[in-house]
């Protein structure tokens, strides 16, 4: 085919900027809260992440102050427990993941040659959830209600019996709320990388940072749902008395550990891989040559992502699992070091083969290499079961994971911040302050945590608020504490440098490091629309091979060089080849994300205060707002008036096709949903197998056929919807509305069937874990069936009003994906919860 995005004649850059700024520019004052542009939202993400980092860091300092000497009374046990729980939780959930997603959200569209992420409003919504959730969670410290059961919240310590206050509820509800932001950002980033790139940029030409974020985001989509499920189940146990983890009622505390670490181990790599992407971006620039072994680095990152899901039990070596099963996880834990090692060798080879220039970002990368290698090696040591038993829950483990997380994430992140600082602000940092900050942090970090390995080997357990003198722990603890303050001074110097550079830093040139990637063509600081025209890219090193790109882009000499039509547009491409498929029409500023986020915050507060009736009302209001928000998308008349005149030949707006970003977003949402549902089914089978006497009764309380009937209703609804989509594809909208109403009716009937099953099953979720799992499954199916029915009804209404039809056939296919999930979920529930017990259940 021919390329529909050919070059355009040059235009006056100033006039072009004015034209784009009218469409993409950010409003000022209180209306700035409605901004959805990725640059602004990502900056907010990063700034908020830094604030949470400082709070969590201060908590860490308090911990070290307490442990500096034996028998200190600076903190009591209760305050210490709260401090280490909040320190770990905030660092993991409120800093490490969000700040890297923020960095990715800021950089990726610019690196990929796009004008924004594909779901800007979802990104803004995610930010508000993150901010409000973070504030609610952190406020527990001020209210003296902070969780104190450790960042992994093991039951029964986190159950009502041993954590009767609201601390655990703050953790479960607050973190689940914040995870909405993480999931939203992961879906947004994945679809953006796959579908919104420069024309011609194939998968094999993606910047390595984009690869790292693609893999990380898919890991988040599959890895976070087990924890979300576990948190919901534990909160249900705490607030409604349902039995999931209580062994006296057929539950099992180890089920929580499995669900937590199914998330928790991939989380380590979710934190590391983006940082590895930063390293793979910076090393070639400062080595002044392409990355050695690009395909190997990509393969290694994919391999790391997958293998990291096979390690979760290595956190549970001390719980009594048979030796052979432990050995499976021990082997996998050693294996995962191999792909990481390959990346390490690629970086060293790049430096070896290049002509390295040593500057501040490279100092942090060098620090990363030293610290992360040490952390990786102690990780391999911990993969050995006998050694793991020996140092389990000691300070050795604390030292190990700080080496991995601070070395593997914080050092590359700070290197990246220094590298992209001229891009953020248009100014350069002070080299003297930056180097001082690095050396203080590097020395302080190693002084704190290297010594902590010995403290652990001497037997000091983690999570004890004090210790007796004369156990050999006095000196190493004092050294660790003193150096932790050195590290704090290093971070303070760094922050001072960042603060001063905004005013006193010298102006940065356009591409100060002579980098190869496209973000440096979007201006320092960047314009809100990134690129006035979208270039055709067929290389991994666009600015090395075409240094004139910044000028030709600004002069509008590439694709889509107009904004007079008033739409925010970027190119939609084939995920593999980069061939242009359509023009993605991006939504503009909106209050809906803020309103929806605020309502969910209210819901979180109502649940915390156990105000369940108001919580139901707020939840309904939030659903109404989200549906109202969805109503404006796609082919809404206010969005797409007069598009035909402005589009390049052969291209349509995505809402006029069958394959826009929303379809991919829904597909990934269903993938996350499937991961959550698979975790639930794992829980069902786990309790059945592991709990003594936990075998399900042969005669399921759900009956044999009612769930089959519900499944049949959902299958028929799905078939009706699919038939409508097929007809649209064939160019006919005859009977489309009838099909959509039919699907709605079938969905409502399916939901009524589920309610009937629930009413007749006489389940007792507060007495038996099996009944609790069955009840939750029915609730899960009911919520999905109800949502599928409502969305089908809205499609019928949109069809009636002309927003969906032959000219805008996109949306029914998106809704059909949800129906597909409902059908599979219902069928699986029938097979596993009604049929399987007939074959293998306990006889009456």
């Amino acid at each position: 085919m021919t390329e529909p995005t050919a070059s355009s004649p040059p235009r006056d850059p100033a006039r072009l900027h004015a034209e784009f700024d009218a469409v993409w520019g950010n409003p000022k004052g209180w209306r700035a809260l409605s901004v959805v542009n990725h640059t602004s939202v990502a900056r907010r993400f990063m700034a908020t992440g830094v604030v949470f980092f400082l709070i969590a860091g201060l908590l860490g300092m308090l911990l070290r102050a307490q442990l500096a000497q034996p028998g200190r009374g600076f903190m009591g046990a209760a305050a210490y427990n709260q401090a280490f729980t909040m320190h770990g939780t905030m660092m993991m959930f409120l800093f490490a993941v969000p700040i890297q997603q923020g960095l990715a959200a800021y950089l990726l569209p610019k690196m990929l040659g796009a004008r924004d992420l594909v779901f800007p409003r979802l990104g803004a919504f995610g930010y508000w959830c993150y901010l409000f959730g973070g504030i609610i969670f952190t406020s527990s410290l001020l209210l003296d209600m902070a969780p104190d059961a450790g960042w992994f919240m093991y039951t029964p310590l986190s159950s009502n019996t041993y954590s009767p206050g609201k601390g655990a509820d703050f953790w479960l509800l607050g973190i689940t709320f914040i995870e909405i932001a993480t999931m939203a950002a992961a879906i947004d980033i994945t679809v953006s990388i796959l579908r919104a790139r420069a024309a011609g940029m194939g998968l094999h030409q993606l910047p390595v940072f984009a690869w790292s974020m693609l893999i990380t985001s898919l890991m988040v989509i599959v890895g976070f749902p087990p924890l979300i499920l576990g948190s919901i189940l534990l909160e249900l146990e705490r607030s409604a008395g349902w039995a999931f983890f209580d062994p006296t009622r057929g539950g099992d505390p180890l089920l929580w550990q499995h669900l937590f670490w199914l998330f928790g181990h991939p989380e380590v790599y979710i934190i590391f891989l983006p940082a590895a992407g930063v390293v793979s971006t910076l090393v070639p620039v400062f080595a002044r040559r392409p990355l050695v072994g690009y395909p190997w680095v990509v393969v290694s990152m994919i391999g790391t992502g997958f293998i990291s899901f096979g390690l979760w039990v290595h956190h549970m070596f001390a719980v009594g699992i048979p030796a052979l099963s432990q050995a499976f996880f021990a082997m996998a834990s050693m294996l995962v070091a191999i792909p990481t090692g390959i990346q390490l060798f690629a970086w060293i080879a790049t430096l070896w083969a290049g002509r390295p220039v040593w500057s501040v970002p490279m100092l942090w990368i060098a620090g990363f290499l030293v610290i992360f290698v040490a952390g990786g090696l102690t990780g391999v040591m911990l993969a050995f079961v006998p050694f793991n038993w020996q140092v389990h829950d000691t300070h050795f483990v604390v030292a190990h994971f700080h080496y991995v997380l601070i070395g593997g994430m914080l050092f590359p992140l700070i290197g990246g911040i220094y590298y992209w600082l001229p891009h953020f602000s248009g100014r350069m940092p002070s080299e003297r302050l930056a180097k001082t900050g690095f050396w203080l942090t590097f020395a302080g970090f190693n002084g704190t945590f290297l010594v902590m390995h010995w403290t652990g080997l001497l037997g000091m357990p983690r999570r004890v608020y004090t210790y007796d003198a004369g156990m050999g722990w006095d000196l190493p603890n004092l050294v660790s504490s003193v150096f932790s303050f050195v590290m704090a001074f290093g971070i303070a110097t760094l922050l001072l440098d960042l603060a001063l550079h905004w005013r006193h830093g010298r102006k940065a040139p356009l591409n100060p490091w002579n980098a190869d990637t496209l973000e440096w063509a979007s201006g320092t600081p960047p314009v809100p629309y990134n690129f006035a025209s979208l270039p055709h890219i067929t290389t991994r090193h666009p600015l090395w091979e075409a240094p004139e790109l910044p000028e030709t882009i600004a002069a509008g000499q590439h694709a889509l060089p107009h904004a007079a039509h008033g739409r925010r547009e970027t190119l939609g491409v084939d995920p593999v080849s980069g061939r242009v498929r359509e023009v993605i029409h991006l939504p503009g500023n909106s209050w809906w994300p803020l309103v929806a986020g605020a309502l969910l915050a209210l819901l979180c507060l109502a649940l915390l205060l156990k105000l369940y009736l108001p919580a139901v009302a707020v939840a309904l209001a939030a659903v109404a707002v989200l549906l109202r928000w969805s109503w404006e998308n796609g082919a809404h008349p206010s969005a797409v008036a007069g598009e035909a005149r402005d589009l390049p030949p052969d291209l349509k707006l995505h809402s006029r096709t069958f394959d826009g970003p929303g379809l991919w977003g829904m597909g990934l949402t269903m993938l996350a949903d499937a991961a959550l549902y698979a975790s639930l089914l794992f829980g069902w089978l786990y309790l059945w197998t592991v709990v003594p006497g936990g075998q399900a009764p042969a005669e399921s309380p759900l009956g044999t056929w009612p769930l089959a009937a519900v499944t049949l209703l959902f299958v028929t609804g799905l078939w009706t919807l699919r038939r409508a989509v097929r007809r649209l594809r064939a160019g006919s909208d005859a009977g489309l509305q009838t099909h959509l109403w039919c699907a709605t009716g079938l969905g409502v009937a399916g939901c009524a069937g589920l309610l009937w099953v629930w009413a007749h099953a006489a389940l007792q979720p507060t007495l038996r874990a099996h009944d609790a799992v069955l009840s939750f499954t029915l609730l899960f199916l009911l919520l999905h069936g109800a949502l599928a029915s409502v969305l089908a009804a809205l499609q019928a209404l949109r069809m009636h009003l002309g927003h969906v039809g032959l000219s805008a056939p996109y949306e029914p296919g998106v809704v059909a994906l949800l129906w597909q999930f409902c059908t599979f979920a219902s069928a699986l529930a029938w097979v596993l919860m009604a049929l399987l017990p007939m074959a293998f259940g306990a006889p009456p």
Binding site: G310, A323, T689
Partner: protein, 132 residues
Amino acid sequence: MTPHTDAAGPGPDRATGLADHAWHLVLGLTLWFVWFCVTYGGVAVACAVAPPLSALGPVNWLNATVLLLAATCASAFGCAAWVSARAARRVPADAAGAGRRFIARSASALYATAALSTALVALPAVLLTPCT
């Protein structure tokens, strides 16, 4: 208009079939994870339902099943790696085929990773008693 050849357009190529499809980048290790969960879960269920006699040591029906399944899966992953490597060689060595060649080569390496991971993870079944 600038003519633009679609480097990896829709539809399978006659020389490589579907062997250079992007799904191969995730298929091998996804199946590896399925194998991993089936093996771990299967051993747990077998130990709960019909544990082999511990006096038999590692020579018992459960370890034999684990090793047999692992050998089958590792062989299948090895074959897939070979097919992908062969597909990579058949893609024309020009700029237009670069994307497909990259996918096929990467898929080959990832299938080989799955094969190696399967073999190594199952290896302890040669030495260890399963249910103690």
